[in-house]
């Protein structure tokens, strides 16, 4: 991956009303060819960032540059950025062919070259037979492919995608995720992708920027994001996660010892907690917990609910006073021992437990 940044946000701030900041001091560098996803709940500022990059919103403060040149004052149509919209924005009064032809016509390309490029783009999304249809005559998935082809037909170096799969059903969405990923790999184009679906973000991206409250909470590759969340928000937002509130009693190197409300002492990896005496959130993934055996950290537990998922059993327990403590147990033979009301022990490795900031 190239080191020099292709897209760069420097100290970017955005406010709509002059009173509150929607984007607070954003700094982000995206190298050429990367697939970067902006992930976050609605209202977190991710779409605003995308719109500023596309040129439909102006940055209140800071510089946005593309290929080394600031683009704050360049109108959207001169930025040469491809874009896929949430509802595809296929022009309803034009055929598929005319839709794809439009960006080429405004670039005044000769007809022969236009035809060639349109054919190539339609081939790319396997939609060559649909050139004469109108968007309304296509299914959601087909429209999605056309929108994709249209954003790529004029060969931009950067493509922005604003929740492009939001309107599709689950199965089609998953299928399209792979397709977009493969297209990206094949074309080597830089993609900035906005979604609120964490699975989508993890599946497709080289790197994910998790947004909350106008600030990037963590920027990391999908494995790091899942395995090593840096704060309680990210831990909670990405995947499932058990939280135990505790007070720090000792910090030795990277190991934190904390005391739970019930007085149990638990060891965990220091990530983002304050000094001795402060509160911390201990975060453990549900699949990293062993039931019925002792380990580095052990706690009393009571089975409250068992849900049969198929490949695993989802077990809700009362651990350290938290009645929503979830343990995922692989569907093996010994599971049959578990019964509602059974009192047992749970344990986990110190490395799998991360001491994070106290979540409000």
């Amino acid at each position: 991956m190239a080191n020099n940044s292709f897209v760069k946000f420097e100290n970017v701030q955005k406010s709509y009303d002059g009173e509150t900041l929607v984007v607070k001091d954003l700094n982000l560098e995206i190298p050429k060819g990367e697939f970067l996803t902006m992930l976050g709940p609605s209202g977190s500022g991710k779409t605003t960032c995308l719109m500023m990059l596309a040129g439909f919103e102006t940055a209140t403060q800071g510089i946005i540059s593309l290929g080394g040149n600031p683009i704050n004052n360049i109108p959207p149509h001169k930025r040469g950025i491809g874009m896929v919209f949430q509802n595809y924005a296929l022009f309803p009064h034009m055929t598929v062919y005319e839709n794809l032809s439009f960006p080429l016509e405004v670039r005044k390309l000769p007809k022969r070259i236009r035809e060639e490029k349109i054919k190539r783009a339609l081939d790319m999304v396997q939609m060559n037979e649909f050139g004469n249809r109108r968007p309304a005559q296509l299914s959601g998935g087909q429209q999605q492919r056309i929108a994709l082809a249209r954003s790529l037909v004029f060969e931009p170096e950067l493509v922005l995608m604003d929740e492009p799969l939001g309107a599709l059903d689950k199965q089609l969405r998953e299928h399209m995720q792979y397709e977009i990923k493969h297209l990206h790999e094949k074309l080597g184009v830089t993609v900035v992708y906005v979604t609120h679906d964490q699975t989508e973000a993890l599946t497709m991206s080289d790197r994910v920027a998790v947004f909350n409250d106008g600030v990037i909470q963590q920027l990391a590759s999908p494995p790091n994001l899942y395995e090593k969340p840096e704060n309680a928000f990210v831990a909670q937002f990405i995947g499932e996660n058990n939280k135990i509130i505790a007070q720090v009693v000792d910090v030795k190197g990277s190991v934190v010892t904390a005391k739970t409300l019930k007085g149990n002492l638990l060891k965990s990896k220091k990530v983002n907690c304050d000094t001795v005496g402060s509160k911390t959130t201990l975060s453990i993934r549900p699949e990293r917990i062993n039931v019925g055996v002792k380990g580095e950290n052990t706690s009393e537990a009571e089975v409250l609910e068992l849900i049969y998922i198929g490949d695993h059993i989802r077990c809700r327990m009362n651990v350290e006073g938290d009645e929503n403590f979830i343990v995922k147990i692989p569907n093996a033979k010994k599971v049959s021992n578990l019964k509602i009301g059974l009192k047992t022990k749970v344990s986990w490795a110190t490395d799998d437990c991360r001491a994070l900031d106290r979540l409000a």
């Binding site: 149509h77 874009m83 919209f85 509802n87 022009f91 439009f102 249209r150 004029f154």
Partner: protein, 420 residues
């Protein structure tokens, strides 16, 4: 069991043995009946209160039996007459018989009015002759001509022959500035009596200009309304609708105050030196006055359909176009504008149809060259009482509107119209 099994091979049956199709239509019949019941009051109202009266009135344009109904004796005799030869004693006798009877039954005015439309001056010819008819003696030809010389004219009799046909094209011909003769041919009226064709053309011209002016003025307003934040656009929308809350008459009168020689606009022109005090602009009581006030009054009908169509166009289309490299103008002209055409079509046809039958405003501010065909329909309805001619003119107007509607459907397509 065996029997029902056999039947099943012929047609599908329900569990109780009734054919499925029959059962289905029976079960749907109730809901259809209910649906029909819901629209019946409106259907009745429209057919009794709208379609029927219009049809009845339009027939007056081609059917007028006043002469045939009251000139019972003369009508069949006239039918045999060729219209060229000298009127016979038999015809005069029938005429006198009818006049006597009409005088007694007090119906002479109706026939006199009807005849006067065909031939000016017939009213007094009929009424005064009727007064003396009772005392007339045979030979009637001589005695009647003695009363009024005009009875000896061939033209009088030819006019009566034309009028004696109840089903007649005279009114339609008159609505198109033509005269229907006793021989059954149409001739154009003399230059200084032609007026209706000119007015039909002027009506279409004024309506078309109002549509175009409304489009030019209304489109940007609709665009603004559709793109402003909802709080402000709602306020502005109320301002657009505000004129609907005042009567048409008040709005028109307000324009008189604005546009007249000593009015607000001319005062401003004088203040800014655009006009001199002695030589002010004539903005009212002419075509300009009609155009200005009609454009204003009909503007909301143009803005609202365009606005409601624009409202449904997401901003992402224009954004998409711009992201693909289109300038503001290209994005508007090639992407946004085509999508507003259904609204433009609806607004244009709405305004056009309203404009074509406008009459209060042109009557008040139109002066001589700003009046429209509906003013003349109104004139013949209320002033000259020539309802047959009014009906014929209304019929012609209706045909013109239907024809334009048909052209619109062929060119733009009526499905391609959206009121919201």
């Amino acid at each position: 069991m065996q029997a029902s099994q056999n039947k099943k091979n012929e047609q599908m049956l329900t569990s109780d043995g009734i054919p499925l199709k029959k059962k289905l239509s029976k079960s749907l019949f109730r809901s259809r009946l209910r649906a029909f019941g819901l629209v019946t009051p409106l259907l009745l109202l429209i057919s009794i209160g709208f379609v029927f009266p219009i049809l009845v009135f339009l027939t007056r344009g081609i059917y007028n039996d006043t002469f045939e109904k009251y000139m019972v004796n003369l009508t069949p005799v006239l039918a045999e007459w060729n219209g060229i030869s000298e009127p016979t004693e038999e015809m005069f006798e029938a005429l006198v018989l009818d006049l006597v009877w009409l005088k007694e039954t007090k119906n002479i005015g109706k026939v006199a009015s009807r005849m006067n439309r065909e031939m000016s001056g017939s009213r007094s010819l009929f009424t005064s002759s009727a007064r003396k008819a009772k005392k007339l003696e045979a030979p009637y030809k001589e005695s009647l001509i003695k009363v009024k010389k005009k009875w000896g004219d061939l033209e009088t009799w030819r006019a009566m022959k034309v009028t004696s046909h109840s089903l007649t094209p005279v009114f339609l011909a008159s609505a198109l500035d033509m005269k229907y003769t006793a021989e059954g041919s149409f001739i154009q009226k003399s230059e200084d009596r032609r007026i209706h064709v000119k007015l039909f053309i002027r009506t279409l011209e004024i309506s078309l200009i109002v549509v175009i002016a409304g489009l030019i003025l209304g489109y940007p307003v609709a665009f603004l309304l559709a793109n402003l934040p909802i709080r402000i656009s709602n306020l502005l929308l109320i301002l657009v609708l505000l004129p609907f809350w005042t009567s048409l008459l008040v709005r028109t009168t307000a324009w008189i105050a604005m546009l007249q020689g000593q009015g607000v606009l001319n005062d401003l022109f004088v203040v800014f030196g655009i006009a001199t005090d002695e030589d002010r602009f004539t903005l009212i009581y002419n075509k300009a006055g009609t155009l200005i006030s009609m454009t204003h009054i009909l503007l909301p009908f143009m803005i609202l359909p365009i606005y409601s169509v624009m409202k449904t166009i997401p901003p992402s289309y224009v954004r998409a176009a711009k992201s693909m490299g289109a300038t503001n103008w290209t994005a508007f002209w090639r992407i946004y504008f085509p999508q507003t055409i259904p609204g433009i079509g609806a607004g244009a046809i709405l305004v056009f149809i309203l404009a074509i039958s406008f009459y209060i405003t042109p009557a008040l501010v139109g002066g001589q060259d700003g009046t429209m065909i509906s003013n003349f329909i109104d004139y013949h309805m209320r002033k000259s009482l020539n309802w047959s001619l009014a009906a014929a003119m209304g019929g012609v107007l209706l045909v013109i509107i239907l024809f334009l509607y048909w052209i619109y459907d062929r060119v733009v397509g009526i499905d391609n119209m959206k009121l919201g």
